[in-house]
Amino acid sequence: MSFGEFAVLRDISLSVGAGEIVGVLGPNGAGKTTYMNILTGALRPTTGTVHLLGEDVTKLDTAQRCHRGLAQTHQVPKPFSGMTVFENVLVAVNHGRGVPAHDPISVAWTVLEVTGLAHVANRPAETLGLLDRKRLELSRALGTDPKVLLLDEIGGGLTDAEGDALVGLIRTIHASGVTIVWVEHIMRLLLEGCSRLVCMAEGKVLADGDPHTVVNSQQVQVAYFGASA
């Protein structure tokens, strides 16, 4: 992937198996966000392809990929203002599913019960605190009935306790059969939440494998912590 002359990503090849929960780690400028935007279709890759559930989706736009089972949460939660929490999720249920829900309202309720927002369902979305906004991001993503869920730095700005609560929720979602790719700055959360870790730097994959092995590898220590080789 290049912006003009500047190649942000090169030779990235990452395949995630069904049911995995993979953390993606990397310093600023490693290309994590660009990579994620290519997966969702917000950016078109200069070369290369994106496959979702065995289908080549490189030419499909974001909404079409959503209908085929791909969802993403934003780093900075962006609830739709002027709508309630419930209505925010209802938008996702109504429009994000490949197969329309028979009863969108009860589906939206079920999602809010899973994510723990049922008690604030009728509040205006913009009045939520940060943790609940992140829960709402997850709720909207779940509303689209995803097979693969991309999390973009969802742990940022949370206290440790809030972070733990979020990891618990993400594990619950993963346990329900959703494949998760989780881009994150906060290594602690990835180590707690993920079964596989990928470390990126300067547009390349540095290491890929068991979380603790990856974190302790020499290359990752150099790239991420600046430790001398």
Binding site: T40, H74, F80
Partner: protein, 296 residues
């Protein structure tokens, strides 16, 4: 005095009808549609052709024109607005300005310079009036226009707040990237929204043609009144457009009271006061007016 208040209120209903489509386009698409007036005039000619030349009943003509203008809105979005979107704030302005010039001159070429009214299509309704206690007469058509304004704004608000399509339109207008992530076809949604905005213009055209007459270049005057009503009221909710229209109509009526030629000046003064108050910031700032953060 009572009749002045009543007449100003009825005039406000007319301005609200004119301004609804403009406000809807801005709040939903972030586009200030400078062709708004010309498109209303175009819808007026459509009503005239259907009602006068083809002898269709007036309600049927309105229904047909609403469908036609909806389709035109979809085409307009696909052909022009979607391409202008994302090219900065000036591009949609220039594009719609260009459309208005093309439309003005096409209509001049097609229909000539004569002023046209729709009043003959509805028989005596155009001059019939209700008599209120105190020997105050109010034109029936003006009362119907005010009622229609309230119904149209109510329906559009209901659509936006309560239906799946409305939520989809709101989501698209607030954040296209997020809307797309939730499976919304944002291009299609924006095209439908443009169609709805233009369809409301048919109601405005009917009101225009029944109250008075128009010529091929009448669009700019409509745009001016609509724009003033929107800026005075703000666009957070379409009810604010009605409020703005009421302020505008009262200012014009007061102006006319002060001096026979003070009608327009009164309205312009109210508009300027609104702009200056909003420029000062705070509760009535421009950012609040447009219901979103100010852009540098």
């Amino acid at each position: 005095m009572t009749s002045l208040i009543i007449n100003a209120l009825l005039l406000a209903g007319y301005y609200a009808v004119l301004a609804t489509g403009l406000a809807f386009m801005y709040s939903v698409m972030n586009i200030i549609n400078l062709a708004h007036g010309a498109l209303i005039v175009l819808a007026g000619y459509g009503l005239y052709v259907l009602g006068n030349d083809l002898n269709l009943p007036f309600p049927v003509a309105i229904a047909i024109m609403m469908a036609a203008m909806f389709l035109l809105g979809v085409v307009l979005h696909r052909a022009v607005l979607a391409r202008a979107y994302g090219g900065g704030e000036l591009l949609p302005l220039l594009a719609t300005f260009g459309i208005s010039i093309v439309l003005d001159n096409l209509m001049f070429q097609t229909f000539g310079a004569d002023n046209i009214s729709l009043a003959p299509l509805v028989g005596d309704l155009s001059w019939a009036s209700f008599e209120l206690p105190g020997a105050i007469f109010v034109g029936k058509i003006s009362v119907y226009i005010l009622a229609t304004a309230i119904v149209v704004i109510g329906l559009v608000e209901l659509l936006l707040r309560r239906t799946a399509l409305g939520h989809r339109i709101q989501a698209t207008s607030q954040d296209r990237a997020t809307a797309a992530l939730l499976g919304i076809d944002t291009g299609r949604t924006a095209a439908i929204a443009t169609g709805i905005a233009l369809a409301t213009g048919v109601v405005a055209a009917a009101a225009l043609g029944l109250r008075s007459a128009w010529g091929p270049y009448g669009g700019s005057a409509i745009l001016l009144f609509a724009f003033e009503a929107v800026v005075i009221g703000g666009t957070g909710s379409l009810w604010r457009v009605l409020a703005g229209a009421i302020v505008l109509a009262f200012a014009q009526s007061l102006g006319a009271l002060v001096h026979p030629q003070g009608f327009l000046i009164g309205g312009h003064l109210a508009f300027l006061v609104a702009v200056f108050v909003r420029l000062r910031g705070g509760r009535f700032s421009l950012a609040r007016l447009f219901g979103k953060e100010a852009r540098a």
